[in-house]
Structure formats: C-alpha cells, structure tokens
Symmetry: C2
Subunit: 322 residues, 2 copies
Amino acid sequence: MTAAAKIDILVSEVGPRDGLQSIAAVMPTAAKKAWISAEAAAGVREIEVGSFVPASLLPQLADTAELVAHALTIDGLSVAVLVPNFKGAQRAIECGAHKITLPLSCSESHSLKNLRRTHAQVIEEARAIGELLRSLPAARRPCFEGALSTAFGCTIEGLVPERKVVELAEALMAAGCDEVGLSDTTGYANPTQVRSLTRAVWAAVGRDRLTGLHLHNTRGQGLANVVAALDIGLTTLDASLGGIGGCPFAPGASGNIVTEDLVFLLEAMGYRTGIDIDRLLAVRRLVQAALPGETLYGFVPDAGLPKGFVPAAAQAPALVAE
Amino acid sequence: MTAAAKIDILVSEVGPRDGLQSIAAVMPTAAKKAWISAEAAAGVREIEVGSFVPASLLPQLADTAELVAHALTIDGLSVAVLVPNFKGAQRAIECGAHKITLPLSCSESHSLKNLRRTHAQVIEEARAIGELLRSLPAARRPCFEGALSTAFGCTIEGLVPERKVVELAEALMAAGCDEVGLSDTTGYANPTQVRSLTRAVWAAVGRDRLTGLHLHNTRGQGLANVVAALDIGLTTLDASLGGIGGCPFAPGASGNIVTEDLVFLLEAMGYRTGIDIDRLLAVRRLVQAALPGETLYGFVPDAGLPKGFVPAAAQAPALVAE
C-alpha cells in the first residue's frame, strides 16, 4: 500500500492524544513513537500525536514536541496536535505540525468547567492564532481546525441547541479557522442528529469547511453514527486504537470509537481507507505491552475478520458503497 | 402508553428464545413469565417466547408451551415461537402462537451441520407447514415466517452469494411462507450488504414480504446495520434484552443486538417504538436476578440516558427522523 493510493475516507487516529490523556499511566516516549510508526506503516494517514498543554496538567502528553518531530519523519503522514490556546499553537507551529486543532465546547458551562474560559475568550484565542498563521509563509502554515466539542449535548446543559453550534462554527471560521469539526464528547449523538447538525453547519460555513466527525462510544452508538456520517458525505473520522481510555461512566464502553472496528466497518462497506486491517490489528500488541493492565476495547480484534473477508480495494466495483 | 399507540418500528424481543438457548443455565418458568410480562408492560409488542424443539436438545426451552399460554393472556402482545420443523409447527399451532418462524440456513454446509438437513429438506418442511396452515380457519392461522439464517455469510462457507439468498427466499415463499426475514447469524453483515441484500430479496418476493432483520453484534456492527435497515425502510428489528448469550468467539460481544441500546437508538432518532425505555431498563434487574452469574450486555444501561433525553413521541415534528 503506497501513500499515494486513493482513499475514500480518512481515518484520523487520536489515541496518542485523546486516548492517552484519559488514563493515568504514562506511556514511554519510545513506545509512542513505535505506535505512531506502526500505525502509519499499516496505512493510517493522519495521527493526532499529542497536545501542547502544560505538562503539569497532562504529564501523559509532555513529550508532544518530540513526537511531532518523530512523526514528521514518516513520509505521507499528516501530523496533528491539539492546542488549547495561542501559546500551544505557537509551540505546534515551531515544531512544524501539519494540523492544529483548537477545541471550543459548545456548552458554555462545560467550557467554563473544563477550560475555564467563556466562548468569547476561546474565540479570541482562535482569532489570535488565525492572525499568527496569516503572518507565516504558506509553506509553514498548518491547517487550523476549530473543534466544536459537546456539539451533540452536554452532561451539564443537556441538549445544545443546533443554532448555538452553528453560531460557534461561524465565529470560529470568522476568527480564522480553515475548517471546523463536530465532536460528540459525551456520547450523546444519534444518527438523525449527525445528519441534521452537519447539514446545518454546512449551510452556514460551506460543505468543504466541515468534513470531520469525532465520536465517542459511551452509549454504543458510535458506528451507527458513522453510517449516518458516511451517508451524507463526511469524509474524516476520528478513532482511537483499542478505544483506549474507556469511559469512566460506562464500564464496558471504549472512549473514542475503536479504530479497528471502524476500519472493518468502512472496508466491509466498500470505502477504501488505505489501511491494512491485519497490520492494524497487530499494532494492538505493541500498545498493550506498553500499557500493562490497561483495557483495550474493540469487537473485531476479539471476533476476528469474517471468513473470506474482502477489503474495499479488492471488492468488485458493483459491491462498492452506493 | 396504550397498546393502540402508533409505532414506527416493531422491536421484536427474542431473548427468551435466542438468548436463553445460548446459555447453559435454565431460567425458571416463573421468571420467564415475569420477564415476558414486564417487557410487554414496558411497551414491547412482540416477543419470541421459545422454540418447539425436543427438550432433550434444548432443555432451556422445554417450557415453551406454557410460556405461549402465558403470553397469550397479555393484551396486544404478538406471541412468536421458533419451529425447527413440521412437528414443531403443529405444536405451535395447537398452542395458539400468533407467529411461527422456521429457520433455513442459506449456507447448506451450516444447515447440514446444525439442522442435519439439506435445503431441499427444509423447503419440504416449509411446504408441509404451509399446507397445514391453509387447512386451518383464518382465525387460527399464525403468521408463517421463513428466517434466512447465515444470509450475510457463514463461518464454514464464508460469503453466501446474494443470488443464493434470493433463490431460497423465493423457495420459502413458494412453499407457503407469508414472509421471510434476514438473519445475520454470524455477525458478518455490514450496512452496504444490508441495503443490497434487502433490495435483492424485495425485488424477488415483494417489499411487503420482507420487513424484518435479525442482527448479532459479534463484530460490534449491529447498530450500524440497524441504521442501514432504517434508511431503506425495514420496520421490524429483533433484539435481546441484555444481549444474553453473548458470543463464544468474542468475549465482549453480546449475542443478539441489545434491546436497550436498540430502543435508545430508535427513540433518539425519532422512531417511535411504543417502549418506555426507563421501564425497559428496569427489566434487567429481574432477568439478572433469575440468571445469577450470567453477563448482561449493553452500553446504555451502564452509561444511562443523556441528560434531557427526549423520546420520539415527545420530539417536535421537525426533529422526527427524515
């Protein structure tokens, strides 16, 4: 599988960031590098390798700069990082990350509780980052995504009105983001809502400015929401190998949707991901060895591939997804 | 919630049959009756209460006749049973079941291994049952479904050709079935295949003759397949409370899709099921108490409903599923 092979859906691996920040154990840097390399070798085209947050807050991600440097040596890999603010963005740019993601929680209560910032304050950070990016030569300018977290509902506020999400999407784009993403931080989303909210944001900011969805599997609805996302034409899906991190409120639930189960779904449906699922499944051993005692999730890893399974690229054209 | 309230999707509970036949423990008859009554009281409109197989083969289901008699006392409940052959159908008719389901495995290897019967032999049973049914007065005639098991693939043969499934659907209808159903016995199905196979069978036997899908969650794809089923307009979905039975090859996987997670998905999407999800969740306690030590599955039971959750019947018309 060469990096140039055409894909239909970009699977963006967020385990090294969203997964690892959710557990107490600190994975050694060498193991993280091996994980990133192994997933890229399996065909994964984008990996969120860490977050530029103070090490005092998230010691699990203190080695993000080193991981960006490592990931940049891998040909064809898009290297993404999360940045909580302007300072984080500066560091990400210095390191040469290809993509930076600034989260904005659509629920202001959630934003205040988790980031200690109002919506206006986060939008102001976005504006400052946008200005900094515009001052850079194009070759050094990463893609800047605003991530609309709790977009499908919040454990404090409950349902977040669609118009609020749309309004914040517009504000992020006006502040200088290149694109926005929708995040189901709380595992509240359902397929009807995925379609409806995506269409509403598309109507406001343009279809090419929202291509991605970040799902959690708290209520077991993650892959059901993926089907809705595929139906309307979203093309980037975040997932985490082994669903690392789990969900503290739901003992059997992974955190993010599980990369292995997602890739199986996509390839079985006829969507090319560029990922070799056998090689992807093999990466679990490496991650499990580096996180002894930590639960890895996923159904396909336990059940195995169906007998005679045919990945998308090998399917007859008539079988390719409608 | 009265039995007359309109529903969009019929959730057919198969736990007392498919769930209980998959575990070694024998649930006491009184507990089964309480389970059936409690689920009906929560709004479930159809329950497969057992199977007329020899008690020597499945002692777990030896009390099926008594359960049918009990279930028939519940107003508005459709009482379904599985019948492996003509003799089972005779017993089901004597008991007054509303619906009988004869399984036919689309993989002949699977049919020989599990039922010790060729396709031709099963079709002959169907023909004999159809003849018996036609000899009955209409009021005593149950609905006769032919269930196409391993329709999405088989652990022995791998992929089952679509034309084979279609051919068997036609043969079952010609033999006297009122309708056919598609069963993903092995957890091989994907959403593209659900759409494609349903359309192929519809083209052969008529859209009104295939309304139901029976899914397993072996590879975590059960609810993703439900979304595809809803999109094309299937209206009956089998599920099992707590996903009882599990899957011997996939330690974390339920057997059938989990009724609680399915009802959450449907109601969140705006599809009315007639089921009160809080009352449904409460039925788990009763089932767990009657099956000590047995694992119950499900994500929604662990995570709880989202804050501010609005079931379908209470949603504004604009939010109802497209």
